[in-house]
Amino acid sequence: MVEVRWHGRGGQGSFTIARLLGMAASVYGGQFAQAFPSFGPERRGAPVLGFTRIDSKKILDRSEVDSCDYVVVLDETLWGPAVVSGLKKDTVIIINTAVPEQYREQVDNPVVAIDATSLAIEYLGRPITNTAMLGALVAVGDFVSLEHCKEAIAESMKASVGEKNIKLIEAAYKVVKEAYHG
């Protein structure tokens, strides 16, 4: 089972993308998935978490995700104790930043960096980074195919928006694949 934790801010679409990943894996990828938010009384602007669980068998477990395989940080201002808690030895942290060094210094875990904000502005015209971060995750993790993610995007978004996001995810995927595996 793969467990992913998403860090965002209310309104940034971090839960939407956690859900999209689950959809890609299950509806299109034939696997099983759960996606759920961590929900609090705080209002827009406050940090929020999202989770995705993916497995080849039906997922029975209903407990919270305590330690995860991937941590995805949509906004580098969120870096802090919440991000670095509940890490396993090999948990990969994927962060939206242009300057990853400062984060690498602080943890022993692998830190994958992508400047998702710039990419998003390039493809969407707005700094909405969630799709790009999914691209990065998929490039690093390889537990869901990029194709399935694109199908999920196409299904969930209006055609015009969907197209742009598909371009964006492809770009993000490519950038990360090249940087880390290429």
Binding site: P41, E42, R43, R44, G45, A46
Partner: protein, 298 residues
């Protein structure tokens, strides 16, 4: 003479602070300023709703005064009980204030409010009207205006969002022959504060209905909250009035209304409206004003 409030006369001390409301929240401004007018001996009662949800999250408490969350339906009743208890204990010069949302006032809380007014209990009741159930995610309330998109009145092929008109909460309260009632807006803050002052001085029940934009629920940018609240009054979709000594008074009677379209178009809850919808809204506004101008003094 009654104290007149403005930014200069107002105390610098904050009695409602550090809450977790959204940035630019209109309701939180109304609560903040009302508390300043009422002072440190105010006892606040807030039912379920955004304002209580963001202010009592253990261990973060935003009120510096005594305050309580009430059952959703019970603002009027809990406040009445507090007033009775304080009186029985001989604790004097205190003020009991209820802050409820539009849903908590016009829907689930109207019965307890009606009871409190009927008994003429010594409380100040402030309705924070943001025109929907915001705390639970923007569902339609009895004060949601025509054409507003909410999560339970979606706008689509078949419906233009909410199809009912706003309940006349102010008139309903006035029909109880309440000691003092007023409408207000966070776009006209001195007016609002002075009405709170009047309510504070009223023996018996008083009611203030304050219009308070919600950037999250209305889909407008956070920095225009106050502006929008003013626009609502200026374009005639909201109004400033009082009910006192058995009579209605219109506090502002603009010769010409500002543009309704300008008011609507900056809010995503209205972005689906057709020009017919807007015409209908303007028509209803004109009917309402004709009635007010006919029956109410200035």
């Amino acid at each position: 003479m009654t104290q007149k409030w403005n930014a200069k006369t107002l105390t610098n001390k904050e009695l409602f602070y550090g809450h977790k409301a959204c940035g630019g929240c209109g309701e939180s401004l109304a609560v903040r300023l009302a508390m300043k007018v009422l002072g440190e001996k105010a006892f606040a009662a807030l039912p379920a709703g955004c304002m209580s949800a963001v202010s009592f999250i253990y261990p973060n408490m935003a009120f510096t005064t005594n305050a309580i969350i009430t059952p959703f339906a019970s603002t009027g009743a809990v406040a009445s009980g507090m007033a009775a208890g304080l009186k029985a204990l001989g604790i004097e010069d205190t003020y009991v204030v209820g802050f409820a949302g539009d849903g908590g006032t016009a829907d689930i809380g109207i019965q307890a409010l009606s009871g409190a007014i009927d008994r003429n209990d010594n409380i100040v009741y402030i309705c924070n009207d943001n025109e929907a159930y915001m705390n639970t995610g923007i569902q339609k309330s009895g004060l949601t205006p025509y054409g507003s998109k909410t999560t339970t009145t979606p706008a689509g092929q078949n419906l233009p969002g909410s199809i009912t008109m706003k309940k006349n909460m102010f008139e309903i309260v006035a029909a109880h022959d309440i000691a003092y009632a007023a409408t207000a807006s966070v776009g006209y803050l001195e007016d609002f504060m002075n009405k709170v002052q009047k309510a504070k001085e009223t023996k018996g029940t008083s009611y203030i209905h304050v219009f308070a934009p919600c950037p999250t629920g209305w889909g407008h940018e956070t920095h225009i909250t106050i502006d929008l609240a003013k626009q609502a009054v200026d374009c005639g979709l909201w109004y400033l009035a009082e009910y006192e000594n058995g009579a209605f008074k219109l506090n502002r009677n603009p010769k010409e209304f500002a543009s309704v379209e300008d008011y609507l178009k900056v809010q995503s809850r209205f972005k689906h409206l057709t020009s017919q919808d807007v015409a209908l809204i303007i028509d209803e506004r004109d009917k309402k004003w004709a009635k007010m101008r006919r029956d109410w003094t200035e």
